[in-house]
Amino acid sequence: MYHKTKGSKEASLDPFVKEGGNSMKKFMAFVMVVIMIFSCMTGCGASKKEEEVIKIGSVWGLTGAEETQGQICSKAVQYAVKVVNDNGGINGKKLEVVEEDYQSDTTVIVEKTQKLLLEDEVTAIIGPAMLSGIQAMIPTVEENDGLAICPIPFTGEMDSDNTVFTGGCLYTQLEGMVKYMQENYGKKVFIVGSDYSYPVRISAYVQAIVEENGGEVVGDEYLPIGETDCSTVINKIKNSGANYIIHSCVSDTIYAFHQQVIDYGLTESGVGIGTLITTETDAASLGKTLEGTYSAYNWFNCMENEMSKEFVEGFKKEYGEEEAAKLNGNAECCYTSILLLAEALKNTDDYSAASLREAMGKIEIDSPQGKFSLNPDQYYYANTYSLMVEWDDKGNPSLIDISEKPIDAQPYPTLLYPDGKTE
């Protein structure tokens, strides 16, 4: 320690060493200049590369409660981007996906959205598959003037200048399902759901539709998210005398609920079960417990049109049969959303949120569910078909009802909003 101090003092007084210090400064300055030049060159290279691609953010809960839906939606987005790029891209440019896993955590999605918009500078963000995730994401998208493409069937009642809702309105699907169940099972309905905003909104819609059609809501219960003991609520359903159930249970509760309505003899007694939640993704696991139950959505893999078959076959080639069997309405919606976005990008030079949104609202495209368009007069919600299927004992859907044409979006249905949306 002593020698070092002494040495350094001596060095500072030594003229040769001092000369050497200047050399060192010059050398350091040279190194700094070289680094700066390289930085500029790298920067130029990056911006040139950026010009060749158009980035799209893709944010899903690839882990946690959303992961089953998140994984299939993520693949559908990747596949759609591949289809667009294989068909020439966007005026010579390629689409590129920047994917983020928000871990099904609504606090993480804010951070991921900021990263996508500010660091990656994506043109638009697609995802996630849960309403709670979308609700958490939208304020950040608005603050940074981004565009969020929300690809799940929507409860409505949400609008922003920075969103398009490509999944359509649940009201469209619910109206058809409630009428069908009432005609075939009876007038008394029991509503069950997981305890968060989406099932609560579904319940409000169902109650309004049931009362409008002369039916009766005999129960309305919520289970904690992920609850797997449904015995108490099933006992309540039995005691209520319900003719049919509309359920919107999510996560592991879907599987437990379908199994336990059989275990506790509810289906034996002729109670019908309808849902907007259960899709092909869950069907693989649910198997025979789904038999005789109904689902409504805007697309099922049993649709027979050419584009639907092409979508399923193409996806199968890319990801294999097992993954293709999980394709559901959410995944189809992601695929269709990217096709719509690609068309909008071709028709606009300005990739700002406002221009893109406006361009997306002017286009009608062919999609696996049929003709697809957004409704600019209804806050850019999609006009979607209404489909209903019955499941067999192998978890395969068979179509029992489909609307003749896409039904106009109703994010604020007159049944609940007789005076229209009020600010």
Partner: protein
């Protein structure tokens, strides 16, 4: 309605008890709050799915396999990792949390994200008496819970290794001085605890589902039960499981299930306010 809820509550209590057993044994004997408990439970469920559902190994044997595989996994982790954190409760929290993440990711990589189902060994058979309908499997779960508690008591009070576990729990240094190989007994304790967690997962898998996140809810229920019963008390845990299961089930019949859970958690908070050591623990925390 009340009678049906009370019987239903027995089943709920049995599930909670099975899920909490591994947790209380590992804490009681080793002072480790095992945050990977839910993931050992999940691993046990996957073992049952592979052995019973995929390989058609008889159900009883598959349950034994679930216990053995998770016990071996626990023993390996004790030898490789946990022994280095003996009596360091804060560090073990972090280590077991990391283990939980690692186990989840490994299972995700092997089995994917699709939820699995396991068929009941009793099929759709159920007991029907008046308003009461209960699948035979639920009765089986209640019996299994009682048997597991009795076996655990026997292990602790009637076997040589059980006496050594209790001796170490009372005074580790004195036990070492008396020639007890504490390292070996720790391996047995941790393996037995994780094995019970795995067995719990296997039992739960049939009436629930097999999924990567299935352990999380049971982990929370397990911690509530163990804290309420007393962190090192097997008897306390058994009684707390009964109280929580029955209260949730009976209240759930009259108010919403979410509110029933809120009320139960509130009652636990009140109990801990006046008995911070839990209902039956001997030592105060």
């Amino acid at each position: 309605m009340l009678g049906v809820q009370v019987i239903g509550g027995l089943y709920a209590a049995a599930l909670i008890l099975i899920a909490a057993l591994g947790l209380v044994i590992i804490f009681g004997n080793m002072n480790i709050i095992n945050l990977a408990h839910g993931e050992f439970l999940m691993v046990g469920a996957y073992v049952l799915w592979v052995s019973y559902q995929q390989w058609n190994i008889p159900f009883a044997l598959s349950l034994v396999l679930s216990f053995l595989v998770t016990a071996l996994l626990g023993a390996a982790l004790q030898v490789l990792i946990m022994k280095h954190f003996s009596n360091k409760i804060e560090e073990t929290l972090l280590v077991t949390y990391a283990l939980s993440m690692i186990l989840k990711q490994i299972v995700r990589m092997i089995f994917g994200t699709v939820t699995k189902r396991v068929d009941s060994p009793f099929g759709d058979a159920k007991l029907s008496i008046g308003e009461l309908v209960m699948p035979y499997y639920n009765l089986f779960v209640i019996i299994i819970a009682v048997v597991l508690v009795l076996l655990t008591f026997l292990l602790f009070y009637k076997t040589s290794v059980g006496k050594k576990m209790r001796a170490i729990k009372q005074n580790r240094q004195m036990a070492e001085c008396l020639g007890i190989n504490t390292a070996t007994v720790d391996i047995v304790s941790f393996a037995f605890g994780t094995g019970l967690s795995g067995l719990a997962g296997a039992v739960i898998a049939v009436s629930s589902v097999v999924s990567i996140n299935m352990g999380t809810d049971y982990m929370i229920d397990g911690i509530c039960t163990v804290v309420m019963g007393g962190l090192d008390s097997l008897l306390g845990t058994s009684i707390a499981a009964g109280l929580i299961g029955e209260t949730t089930s009976i209240l759930g019949g009259y108010i919403s299930e979410v509110m029933a859970k809120v009320v139960v958690l509130f009652v636990i908070v009140v109990i801990l306010r006046f008995r911070p050591q839990g209902l039956f623990a001997k030592e105060s925390r």
